[in-house]
């Protein structure tokens, strides 16, 4: 059932403010599991720690970010369990990244080496895992994959700058999943694209999962309308914590956490019910992650806050088999 487990993970940014070292608690005690064969949407607003959580899931951690505690466990297709948080960088590079977990960071398309043709880029990627592969073999593997994803095969002989933004992004997706990893982590894959290319990229990601090329996917974005198109479940993050995890339909039609509710209500989309509803928003600002509040982190903006909310932190609790919520309105104190 489980593909990737994130248990009580803390990852902080160590910053120097004036002469004092402070920790920005970007990911602060997060529990999350990614199931086999699902697309999980990880949504949240700027600065909530979603991109940091993506880095933690793959253990791709570079200073000033550091891993404070917890564990990340990957269950591979062949039934092994690997605790990623115990591995060294070299082991991760050699055995995990690309092979079991593929990562597509924000603005990945601009990271394509501009002086190499696409086939050379793919060749370099494959060669780092299999030193015996030839360029011809790479081309045939890549062409087959491009066809599966609905991309034209002339891409292999082009330089990155000869491709449009959407095509670049889809090519990045194709190349980084050449080794059929179990998990794909994509961070804001569509934010720099216009709507028509956005749709094509989303379709490419959906195909990737539908054809079983990647088994599980985590789609990180601030835009629920985008991720809801392909996600099976959505996890909502706020101020370094997961506040609610549920099926996509439940999150959108029956949100339980007041933040999720407020967020869904604030979304503006091209739909009559949204225009009829009018403009909504959540008053206030998210808390500072250097000194987060003691209780629930949403307490200062929550219309339903009770006494307990500002004193005790609500744990992420199972409501039913498909939903987890961290809110004192829904759990017993």
């Amino acid at each position: 059932m489980k593909r990737l487990e994130v248990k009580n993970v803390k990852a902080y940014y160590r910053l120097l403010i004036g002469n004092k070292e402070v920790d920005v608690k970007a990911v602060d005690g997060v529990n999350l599991e990614i199931r086999k064969g699902e697309i999980l949407g990880l949504v949240g607003e700027s600065g909530c720690g979603k991109s940091t959580l993506a880095k933690v899931m793959s253990m791709n951690i570079k200073p000033p970010l550091y891993f404070k505690g917890g564990s990340v466990v990957l269950h591979t297709r062949d039934g092994k369990s690997i605790e990623l948080s115990k591995l060294h960088k070299e082991e991760l590079k050699k055995n995990i990244w690309g092979k079991h977990i593929a990562i597509i960071p924000q603005e990945a398309m601009s990271a394509l080496m501009p002086t190499l043709k696409i086939k050379r880029i793919a060749y370099d990627v494959l060669r780092s895992h299999n030193p015996n592969i030839t360029l011809e073999e790479t081309v045939s593997v890549l062409k087959k994959r491009l066809e599966e994803l609905g991309l034209p095969d002339w891409v292999v002989d082009r330089y990155p700058f000869e491709l449009s933004g959407g095509m670049q992004q889809r090519t990045v997706i194709a190349i980084s999943t050449l080794l059929n990893p179990e998990v794909l982590l994509v961070d804001e894959p569509t934010s720099a694209l216009d709507v028509s290319t956005q749709k094509i990229v989303i379709k490419t990601l959906w195909r990737l999962a539908a054809k079983g090329i990647v088994d599980s996917m985590v789609f990180i974005t601030h835009d629920i309308s985008v991720v809801r198109q392909i996600a099976d479940r959505i996890a909502v993050m706020y101020a370094g914590k997961i506040v609610e995890v549920a099926s996509t339909e439940d999150i959108i039609f029956e949100p339980m956490h007041p933040y999720t509710k407020g967020l869904i209500d604030s979304i503006i989309s091209l739909e009559p019910e949204v225009r009829k509803r009018g403009l909504r928003y959540i008053p206030g600002q998210p808390p500072n992650l250097i000194n987060p509040p003691k209780g629930c982190r949403f307490v200062n903006r929550c219309p339903f806050a009770k006494d307990i909310c500002s004193t005790k932190e609500p744990p992420l609790t199972k409501i039913n088999h498909n939903r987890l919520v961290a809110c004192w309105l829904h759990i017993q104190g």
């Binding site: 700027s46 216009d194 989303i202 091209l270 403009l279 600002q285």
Partner: protein, 270 residues
Amino acid sequence: MSCVLLETKNLTKIFESGFLRKVYIKAVDNVDIALKEAEVVSLAGQSGSGKTTLAKMILRILEPTSGEIIFQGKNIWRDLKGLKDLKWYWRNVHIIFQNPFANFNPFYKVDRTLRQALELIGIDPDSGEGKKLMREAVEVVGLRPDETLGKYPHQLSGGQLQRIMIARAWIVRPKLLLADEPVSMLDVSTRGKILELFLKLRDEQKTTVLFITHDFGLAYVVSDRIMIMYKGKIIEEGDPEEVFFNPKHEYTKELIESVPTLYRRWKFDL
């Protein structure tokens, strides 16, 4: 029917580039628009459609290749003479630019942009009234004056800078406000509050807002009227329901189908 505040006639802007072989780009192509008093109109289109060029010409900072812009009976490129006339125009027509980081001169505190607005409307920024107005404007856009005033641009986030630009427009209270992607840097959960300000300006100050955006959803929800721009031309114009749910142009239809929806899920097939 309320009266027309600003209209353009055959407005065209051609950019030329290249030295020996000249290349001409029609950024704005024969555009006729009319903006009425107290309405929110969206000018929607993809990047490169000519929206910002059109706005710059209306703001009278980019000279059109041909055509006229008439504001309250005056041809702004012909009848405005001298700094006094121009100041009158800019007090009545103001803008919020797209990229909040480019709006601020890094050498000055963010207050400068607000002080400029006060000077424009004839209030001494150092007087008690000026200071009060400045704090008020910053509070209106949901910022704390002590956390933002007196700071340099690089010390604030894109969202905060964008709000300060809106505060500036709030101080000037123009008759026509050109708002170029004014909420692009704001979070979903706080956007509504800022968007409300534009509607408030329309209702209380009779301001006309020309909302320039690529986000069809946003255009649909906040506007009284929609104009869709494509390759320098206005290809669709009218009531939001009409434009978005009964579009005439193929291009509009295609785009609308690509806009992600919250309550409806797309269907894909292999």
